[in-house]
Symmetry: C2
Subunit: 531 residues, 2 copies
């Protein structure tokens, strides 16, 4: 059937996410710490002004605009204005080392970068290494940026174009090799926004994310689009709170003062907040937090539950936009809340053998988690070899290992590269970490596999003890806890660590994940493994 | 950026709606009156078997399969199997007159029709007029169909194809001219499913449609895909109930016995249920009902509220898949519950003048409602002229008249063709009907414009009185009610009807809408209008 000559063939473009947000929520607020409060109507006007300002700086169609800023209304305005112009938003990871930062900027090749003054020293340090001319727009919290966009016209004609056009670009922060560029199209981001809302929103009661919530991200916006929630929150038209530079006490105050009900973060951030003395004086009973980016340690989960926080796990990665799974949000059973959970709408998630055969869905058989979804990165930027490996067999390989239960829910047990292969068994480093982290006096812990001549690898624990803890007692209690799981048959006998080392601080990557590659190097330096 | 050579470029296909439904909800039920209960796992197997059975009958890629059946698991299986094969599902309106039915079958040109035995007499009556060979598969409730699909293999290889492929076809039932064919692609139906779930699902508390609901449609599945909810309910994996032939007492019993919590229907169906004596004995307090297809009369709304039903209005039409707007589902204010409501996600809904200028959003200025959305029919089948008119100015014209409030919510006040144009004023026929239906003793009412030499048109009311009502008293109370609204300034003085006729039954279309064309003809026969 031929469409009518004048029919509108609706392309999935980011600008369509704004259509009803500004119309229906003219009086709802977007709050940006320390001193900005915008109505949605004003926010939309500013998106238009930002586009004009970028255009005045020579930015057109298909160019790339980098951003180095704290979470703010400014960043959210870039989330919309830059792709809506047809340009690519390059969300630069400000936590990278100067060398990695320079690498990603030269590789990602932005035409312009908007830089908060806090990051100007970083730019000054590396700019002599820039391989192209880049316009730098230095901004501040209230000044700079306001002067820049304030005088621009407030009606930009955002064009239609093909939905496959690239909207965003950023770099993954793996522990091996150079950062790799991943990008997403308008279509992918619009579908991800709908998928996220169906996956997190369609729950009974107060569970999940819905129109009544007040949203504050605790995952920086440069990290996988703040997990996509800023787009979803804006389309829904809820109150949003952007916190500027993450300062624990200020974050807690914002939660209380603005009535924040929904956030998402990695375990480290939540742990950091709960450790503040001021946390005890704030009512966190209405706060729902989605934990991702790393496994949810049982100890942290218990501390959060004591504080009244409603915590659930979710799962995804830089290459998946990121939404893949979420735990049963209607459950208040801690075991179920911490599960990797169920695949979101449309997502075909499998647990497979190296030959791409499904493992039995018995809650035990281990394999690699692979996926198809309408919002998975189709390639690494200019890296065909890594791209083909990512999509080996026509499914995106997460590099995570886990099992599927009979009910279809998935459990990640480890990173493929962190699984400890010993004596012909696969021992989950996460399982060991969970047991150890439940012991009183253990603040942070990592399990790694160290090379072993006879057994392939052997498990080693690195732990950070609470101040004043008796290390020998602690060592005994951790090893006893592991042994009791072995005795109970929950762990293979090969899981007993050969070594438990106490350290001041566990090495982490720029996004707060355990840096096991560094740990293996450190351990090799410090000790000889029994062989 | 080039995709990896092996990347899966996820086309939006109906088969993807099933991916997690069957995996995660193997033990959830699909109930079909009178005696079928299926797990989702069994349901999925039957979808594969149905595809094989159709294939054995010669159905391939791009052919058309018609269905004439009551709401049932069989129909739901067709919703999936037929488009998933690559064929087009033609949902035949069994309520059409034999002449219209024959017209749509010849125009829609199915290769095969699955016909419930209740509709075989209808087929026998018209089949001599078929302009092509059509395979007829006669089925019954438990037999026929079961024997047909029961022996088929249970693994059909549903292929990938382009998402723009036509998935469904059906005919609009306008009151003028021949029925017009509208069709939807896989992409449109997948996007509609996501949009429906975001629009109806992302609400706090128990409001809207969510994973905890038990779903039973009360809009026949042949009518705009049962408003799209069967696809959404299946993707979500909730318990579903299909009721067979609509029998009021049986429907009420199903609501009670199966714990139905969510339905949708036109006002007539709800009214029919509430009139049954057995309704008084059933607890309807957990039942949420979405009303669409016609305005929600205040009288019916009050009766439903008394019964404890949670009622909200929504808006759409055959040409819009159908979701366009829904009232604020979190409101329990009857005024707000009955509003046409807010445009759903991504939907660009406007109220415009004949020149396509937006009317002021002041809750007063009237214009035609037009829309863009990712799921609007792109054309009428083989009718370029009507298609171009439908999409005049690049927006789909709903043919409905209304206004927009400052908060962005819309109110439909009439059909463009039903507005009574009198003395230079536009009088809403719906406004008159609302006033009259609130009078005790009025069971059903319609306001129409009758041609008038001097004033263009003049309003006439046709009413159906309750049994035993004193018609003269009733006439006085209706006219007094209209006069008091005129006196209060809520209605123009031109709105006073010239005539109030009592009739045994108001003429309705095959889908239960007031047939005002028929009424105008009837009134011309019965009376001379004052001039």
């Amino acid at each position: 059937m031929l469409p009518a000559s004048n029919a509108y063939d609706f392309p999935l473009l980011i600008k369509h996410l704004l259509t009803n947000a500004s119309r229906a929520h003219a009086r709802q607020e977007i709050v940006s710490h320390p001193n900005t409060r915008l109505s949605y109507e004003t926010f939309e006007r500013r998106v238009h002004q930002l586009a004009h300002s970028l255009n005045n700086c020579g930015i057109e169609d298909a160019m790339r605009v980098g951003v180095m800023d704290w979470d703010s209304n400014r960043y959210l305005e870039c989330f919309f204005a830059v792709p809506m112009m047809g340009a690519t938003l390059f969300t630069i990871n400000v936590r990278l080392s100067p060398a990695q930062l320079l690498y990603t900027i030269n590789h990602g090749a932005p035409d312009l970068i908007i830089v908060h003054r806090d990051f100007m020293p970083l730019i000054d340090e590396i700019k002599s290494g820039f391989e192209r001319d880049i316009t730098i727009i230095p901004i501040g919290d209230g000044d700079g940026y306001e002067a820049w966009i304030g005088k621009a016209a407030d009606r930009f004609d955002f064009p239609d174009f093909e939905e496959a056009r690239t909207a965003t670009l950023f770099y993954t922060t793996g522990t091996t090799g150079n950062p790799k560029g991943v990008s997403y199209s308008h279509r992918q981001l619009v579908l991800h926004t709908l998928g996220l809302l169906v996956g997190f929103g369609v729950w009974p009661g107060d569970a999940g994310f819905h129109r009544g919530d007040v949203y504050m991200p605790l995952t920086p916006l440069f990290h996988v689009h703040g997990w996509g929630f800023p787009y979803a929150a804006t389309m829904l038209g809820v109150k949003q709170v952007y916190s500027g530079r993450y300062d624990p006490d200020s974050l807690l105050r914002l939660i209380a003062d603005e009535g924040v009900t929904f956030s998402h973060c990695v375990p480290t951030i939540l742990s950091m907040l709960l450790e503040r003395p001021s946390a005890a004086h704030i009512d966190l009973n209405r706060w729902k937090v989605i934990i991702g980016g790393a496994a949810l340690p049982r100890g942290l989960q218990d501390r959060a539950a004591e504080a009244g926080i409603c915590l659930h796990a979710a799962y995804g990665m830089s290459e998946t936009c990121p939404f893949l799974t979420v735990a049963d949000l209607s459950s208040d059973d801690p075991q179920i809340q911490a599960q990797t959970g169920f695949a979101g709408p449309l997502i075909d998630l499998r647990v497979v053998t190296p030959d791409m055969e499904d493992v039995p869905h018995d809650g035990e058989a281990i394999g690699e988690v692979v996926a198809r979804a309408p919002w998975l990165t189709q390639a690494y930027l200019d890296n065909a070899q890594a791209s083909d490996a990512l999509w080996s067999g026509g499914y995106l390989h997460t590099g995570d290992v886990g099992y599927m239960r009979e009910d279809g829910s998935v459990q990640i047990t480890d990173r493929l590269k962190d699984v400890i292969k010993t004596g012909g068994e696969w021992v989950s480093s996460l399982a060991l970490e969970n047991i150890a982290s439940s012991c009183n006096g253990i603040e942070d812990v990592a399990a790694i596999g160290m090379p072993h001549e006879k057994w392939g690898e052997r498990p080693v624990l690195l732990a950070q003890a609470a101040k004043g803890a008796n290390l020998e007692d602690l060592r005994t209690s951790v090893l006893r806890a592991v042994q009791s799981q072995v005795d109970a048959g929950a762990l293979s006998k090969w899981a007993m660590p050969d070594l438990l080392l106490f350290v001041d601080q566990l090495p982490k990557t720029s996004v707060g994940k355990l840096d096991k590659k560094q740990m293996r190097e450190d351990v090799l330096k410090y000790s000889d493994i029994k062989s």
